[in-house]
Symmetry: C2
Subunit: 359 residues, 2 copies
């Protein structure tokens, strides 16, 4: 099953990969708004618990973080959905919380509970102590990207990613997941100056991180704002959008996908950024999104729960969605990560339905 | 502190209370779209953990459910925010999960974890076994309403409430709270017929429950769709809206408030129901909501986290919101329940700012 080879390729092997060499570049062309013959499709969290092959790798290591820091295994689990599900892109297997860790804030991943930061950010001193010189601390990610890129051998594009500054900020303040992220939001109201200082540092680190992912082989990058939905529009505009803007403006060599879950109110503003693609969750109607985002490619947005249904329902719901989006300037995906208890045969069928859809 | 008296008043004392007798009927007039001299204000979850007086009552009983079933204590905690915070309405202290229990599905409230149903609904047989004849099982709620109504003596209106059918359904399938309610949603895709059977029964029970609350003294009722946000618009239209419609159509003697948290996509449809008031969470822009809900009163929608801030910020954010909504056809509230760790002095200040606001 190991497809990645033991010899770590040298850096220069992957720099400036010619896009024409890519056998399936549908995703990149759709992202850029170019014509495609069929709709490209991938799934958020496609590498992971739905695949028995992933679970086998996962159970061979001691913990999630051990997996994330092992380039050989990362390469393997990143390729699995390409081989097994036939998706049109690989996304490097990693975690958005590698950034706070690289900035100096360690976390542990607690089995079936999620991340936990023993220390959180509470003061100006805490923010000052964080480094934005994160590249040396993230070499394991770049090594994983190089290895995966080599193993992919141009079959499909490789997606790099990072958490959005607001989402990373939320974890750094809250210390763990939360329904309301009320502690993180509290800081926005009680100490906006400190909040902006921290958001600024996260953004600087994130831009460097994404640029280095691209140098090492990422063909496109996605920024995940998982906790956008706890903010009002006014807060998003003040505390999140400027940083998303900065990231989108800084990444010029590959397309950027912005995905802010539950931030239904921000599509018009996202359409003004330099991002090529706007990701949508399933609460957004395709037609409404099109009207607000002229010129951008859209990505999404099937309700992940559709994959619980029988195949006839999966086909019906998927095709209804494809029709709503139209075939161009569109990347098919779920509206959020695939749920861990979904039967991978259903996920595979979803991919097939999209790939069989005639434009 | 006990203000409710030990003698349970007889039913007829409260039937057909003349609205003109109410000393402060701002909320009712605003709900009906009548002119008001100042904006009425209350807070979702106003009776509860933010008040030391509530915590004293809560710690005097063995568990949450013991409190919910004690009319004397319910009366006391329902009046507390009227006395202490000066809100313009009382809302009967209870729980949305009394309905599944009255239908035959028991739950336990686990300290700092939330509700848990030892048995959930998985089959047609399970649905068939549920009763819609819930009134006899909910006498403790009606007794609480009668007692509270008597103790209020017309000072402010008394709000009755129920969970929305979709939200109640979610708990009955899922058995507990969830980030995604993926099990409940799974049934919508895999067994929509059974889902509708259950939703229909919940709706029948809920209408009877709300009508009985009104007979016993509720001056207005709110339907809480707490988990609306996990549904797509198409799903909400199919599995939630018809039942909200039925409830709004069935309640004709007092105004109805519909509040579907995170269902930003449903405002136009709610505006077509017989409900008088539409509740908004803080992700909805007031102007956008006004444009979609002509003729309805709006309620909401301050971010509950604003109450963490200093008083100057609370005043600034609250007044900005009041200005956006305009003074008429509007009931001021938070965009969700007040968070338990909010300083009650801040909550009180929020109420004062609204009540001091000059129209």
């Amino acid at each position: 099953m190991l497809k990645c080879g033991l010899k770590t390729p040298v850096f220069s092997d992957f720099l400036n990969v010619d896009i024409k060499e890519m056998k399936n570049d549908l995703l990149i062309r759709a992202a850029k708004g170019e014509q495609v013959e069929r709709i490209p499709v991938w799934m958020m969290r496609q590498a992971g618990r739905i695949l028995p092959e992933y679970r086998a790798v996962r159970s061979s290591v001691n913990g999630f973080k051990e997996l994330v820091k092992n380039p050989e295994l990362i390469c393997e689990v990143t390729l699995q959905p390409v081989d097994i599900l036939g998706v049109d892109a690989a996304i490097i297997f990693s975690d958005i919380l590698v950034i706070p860790e690289a900035m100096g804030l360690n976390y542990e991943m607690i089995e079936s509970k999620g991340p936990n930061f023993p220390k959180t950010i509470t003061s100006e001193q805490d923010v000052a102590e964080l480094t934005t010189d994160v590249i040396p601390n993230l070499e394991y990610v770049f090594a994983s990207i190089r290895l995966t890129k080599s193993a992919l051998n141009g079959r499909v594009p490789l997606i790099g990613f990072a958490g959005a500054p607001w989402t990373i900020f939320s974890y750094m303040i809250e210390g763990k997941g939360s329904k309301t992220f009320s502690q993180a939001k509290k800081m926005l109201y009680t100490n906006p100056v400190l909040a902006h200082q921290l958001l600024d540092k996260i953004t600087t680190a994130t831009i460097a991180y994404l640029q280095e992912q691209i140098k090492n082989g990422a063909d496109i990058v996605q920024v995940f704002d998982s906790w956008a939905g706890v903010l009002s529009k006014a807060q998003y505009v003040e505390f999140a959008l400027p940083y998303m803007n900065r990231i989108a403006a800084a990444i010029t060599v590959v397309p950027v996908i912005l995905f802010a879950k539950d931030a239904h109110y921000i599509l018009t503003e996202f359409a003004q950024t330099n991002a090529s693609v706007i990701g949508l969750d399933w609460t957004i109607e395709p037609a409404a999104a099109r009207a607000q985002t002229k010129g951008k490619t859209l990505q999404g947005n099937l309700d992940p729960c559709v994959l619980y249904a029988d195949k006839a329902t999966i086909k019906k719901e998927t095709e209804k969605m494809l029709q709503s989006f139209g075939g161009q300037q569109y990347i098919c995906n779920l509206g959020h990560g695939v749920y861990p208890d979904v039967n991978f045969e259903h996920a595979k069928y979803f991919i097939e339905v999209v790939q069989d859809y005639k434009l």
